[in-house]
């Protein structure tokens, strides 16, 4: 079935066009064109906008705003976003990274969405023309979301307070067994004062490891200190099963990899 593409100069016009049945926004197309190639006929019209702000990365002090059309390659290569380069480079191979956008990653179902896992740990804000939404709320409601995402914004973490890990079987590029991002703040004596931990592949979309976060507060990042957090890592998770790994396997290895991330 033919897939009609409409291109608009403004996000406003694209949002209006997205009201029509059967339409979907086109980011880099790595998921949506792939689905069409695979015979998905639920989408008959693709809509995109070429508004320049969608492709802009703005860094002012520690405040970062990344346009939704910015690619993983652009983030990985940006001189001021070094802390996020690892998470951006975790997405696919070089050609995929030249195409895959931040906006699309927010919608990518597990086992995809590695960059969204990083954004969740950073407590990012997702913007549309309609306003701003905390990423956690956005991810929870994304299935019903029709509006064009325009950007994501967050406070840039200090290099040593942000950690990211993707576990895959095929190196250097492979689909996630799981991914974990952690934003941790430590006091001068090394105890954890705040923790946000996000998990990929442990549900159909990125999720917080709230019990593990709570168990880290007031503890040090030692094997003993993190033991309660590792014991609680799986709380509330319902990992996916796919050709890469079963839900059982993912649940088994999560504490091992969370431990490696925290002790790194």
């Amino acid at each position: 079935m033919a897939l009609a593409l409409q291109t608009f100069a403004t996000v406003k016009a694209a949002n209006a066009a997205l009201k029509a049945a059967g339409t979907r926004y086109l980011g880099g197309g790595t998921l949506v064109v792939r689905a069409a190639n695979e015979g998905d006929v639920s989408v008959s019209g693709l809509i995109r906008s070429t508004e320049p702000s969608l492709s802009t990365i703005a860094v002012a002090g520690d405040k970062v705003c990344i346009g939704a059309s910015v690619t993983m390659a652009a983030i990985a290569g940006h001189p001021e976003l070094g802390t996020l380069a690892k998470a951006a480079r975790a997405v696919g191979g070089p050609a995929i990274r030249n195409m895959a956008t931040v906006g699309g990653n927010l919608f990518a179902p597990a086992p995809y969405g590695d960059f969204a896992v990083a954004l969740l740990a950073l407590d990012a804000t997702v913007s549309t023309d309609g306003g701003e939404t905390p990423i956690e709320t956005f991810l929870a409601n994304r299935d019903g979301s029709r509006a064009v995402v325009t950007s994501v914004s967050f406070t840039l973490p200090k290099a040593d307070s942000f950690r990211f890990l993707k576990v895959s079987r095929v190196k250097p590029k492979g689909v996630s067994v799981l991914s974990i991002a952690g934003a941790l703040e430590l006091s001068s004596d090394g105890t954890v004062t705040s923790a946000r931990i996000a998990l990929g592949c442990m549900a159909d979309r990125p999720m917080r490891a709230r019990a593990a976060e709570k168990a880290l507060i007031g503890r040090t990042l030692t094997a003993d200190g993190i033991a309660p957090a590792l014991a609680a890592a799986g709380d509330g998770t319902s990992p996916i099963t796919d050709p890469i790994a079963s839900a059982w396997y993912r649940a088994e290895v999560l504490p091992v990899h969370l431990g490696r991330l925290l002790l790194a």
Binding site: L5, T30, V33, A36, N37, P94, A95, M99, K173
Partner: protein, 160 residues
């Protein structure tokens, strides 16, 4: 449905075609323009056989809609040889037996070219990373990695 005009530069020459909206660049190149060097392996973004270079960046033509390439500059493997003389990457692929059935070769060469254009003297790890989106079922990869390193050396000798 009305046909859509697209225009781009392919391997140095201007191309203009009328296509159906939603046509992938891979379909446009192979079925409309007649450049069959990009191969359709999976149409899912996973094999890399359809890799082309668009405005200096490696992309998958199977996941790119042709109409998004209006005004772009596209390079495919069929545009690499000059006046019958093979590109150093093509030469190296032949010399190191990096091509067997050949189906992955044009995609591999595009991925390698995109690397060498930005990083003329890559390390082995950089070559492996650059080829990581491309699958080969024949060679076991090692000859391909050697071919890219050989072409890089040939380039740097020519530049010296």
């Amino acid at each position: 449905m009305a046909k859509i005009p697209v225009q781009f530069t392919l391997n140095g020459s201007e191309k203009a075609e009328f296509i159906d909206s939603g046509t992938t660049l891979l379909q446009a190149l192979r079925d409309k323009i007649g450049d069959t060097s990009p191969k359709g392996g999976c149409h899912q973004g996973t094999c890399g056989a359809c890799s082309v270079i668009i405005d200096g960046e490696l992309r998958l033509s199977c996941l790119t809609l042709a109409e998004t390439c209006n005004g772009a500059t596209i390079t495919t493997t069929s545009g690499l040889a000059e006046g019958g003389v093979l590109h150093p990457l093509q030469r190296a692929f032949l010399d190191t037996f990096a091509t067997q059935c050949g189906f992955c070769t044009p995609g591999m060469i595009m991925a390698a070219k995109a690397l060498l254009d930005h990083t003329p003297n890559p390390s082995r790890d950089e070559v492996v990373e650059a080829l990581s989106g491309n699958i080969c079922r024949c060679t076991g990869y090692e000859p391909i990695i050697q071919a890219v390193l050989t072409a890089a050396r040939a380039n740097s000798q020519n530049a010296a």
